[in-house]
Symmetry: C2
Subunit: 182 residues, 2 copies
Amino acid sequence: MSLPHAILTALLEKPSSGLELTRRFDKSIGYFWSATHQQIYRELGRLEGEGLIRALPTEQPARGQKKSYEVLPAGRAELARWTAASQDPKPARDALLLRLRAAAVVGTEGIAADLRHHLALHQRQLAEYQEIEERDFGFGTDSAQARLHHLVLRAGIDLETFWIQWLTHALGEFEQLPAESG
Amino acid sequence: MSLPHAILTALLEKPSSGLELTRRFDKSIGYFWSATHQQIYRELGRLEGEGLIRALPTEQPARGQKKSYEVLPAGRAELARWTAASQDPKPARDALLLRLRAAAVVGTEGIAADLRHHLALHQRQLAEYQEIEERDFGFGTDSAQARLHHLVLRAGIDLETFWIQWLTHALGEFEQLPAESG
DNA sequence: GTCCACATGTAACTGGTTACATGATTGG
DNA sequence: CCAATCATGTAACCAGTTACATGTGGAC
C-alpha cells in the first residue's frame, strides 16, 4: 500500500493536478516508486473519497479541465502514521538474474547483448543522479529535509554504481565463456 | 511474465512437486524471484494445460497426494526463447526510500528503528550468501554453469553489501539529525 | 481415534499494466 | 477547420497476496 502514500508525499511537497503528478513520477519520486497516469487518477479518486485530499476549488471540474489537489489534515496524519510504522521489506524480484539462472540451463544466447543494454541504461541513470547531486547538493547542505533527500539520492547513486560494476564484471566473465553453454 | 519461466528453470534443474518447488523458492531461485505455494500451484496448472510440463505418471493424482512434474520439449523451447529475448528493466519500487522521502515532510519518527531492522536482515542475508559461496564455490570453479551460478550469487552478495553500507551511513546521518524534522 | 505435518488446492481481493475513450486548447 | 497536445478518465486484464478448504499418512 505505498502508492497512495507516495501521492500524499508528492502533494504535500506541492499541490498538483493528475498530469503534473504523472510528470513528477517520471522523475524524482518515480525514481524509487513509479506510477502511470491511470494509476494516479484512480488513486486520486480514492484518496478524495476517503477525505484525505481535496480538489482545489479554483477550477471547474470537467473532463479535459485541469484539476489540482491538496492534502487535508487527515491525509497528513495518515502519511505520518504510515511513515512511522515498521514495514518488512518486500521479497526481491529481478528478472535479469533469473534469466542468468535460466541461461545456465538453456544457453546464454542473447544475454550478453542485453547485459550491455542494461549497462548503458544504468550508466545514463547514474549520470542523471550525479547531475542532480551537483545541482541540488553541491554546496554544504544543512537542513534536515535536504539531508534526507540527499540520503535517498545517495542510495540511488550507489545502487546504480553497484549495477554498473556487476554488469561490467559479468560481461568480462562472458568473454571467457564458451559461445554456447546450455 | 517471469514466474512460469522461474518454474521451468527450477523444474529443469530438478523435477519436483509443488511443495518441493515452494521450498526451493524459499531459497536459491527465491532469492531473486519469490513465490508462494498458491502462485506455484496455479502456475503449474497453467503450464500443464499449455503442454509445457507434465505430471510424472508414477504417482496417482489426488488431493493430498504428491504430484511431481517434469519439463516437456515445448517447455524447454519456451524457456530458451524467453531467455534469449531482450527485456527492459522494470521500474524500481522501494518502500523504504519512499518512506525517507515522506519522513522529510511529516517527520522521522520510527524510521531509525526500522533502518536498524533492515540492517539486521541484510546482514543475515549476506552471511547466508557468503556461506553458500564458501560451500559451493570455495575451490576453483570452471564449468560454465557453475560460473553463471556464481555470477548470480555475486550480485546477491554485492547488493546486500551495498544495502549494509548505505543503511549504516543513513543511521550515522540520523544521529546528527534533530529528533523531529517534519 | 485424534492431532499434527505434509500436500494440494480454491476464492476473493489488491495493485499494476495495457488499451482505449473523451473533451479542451492552441497553432497552422 | 484540422491536427497536435494537454488533460482526465474507463475497462479489461494479469500477477501477487491473503484467507481458507480439503485430503493423506504417521506419531502418540
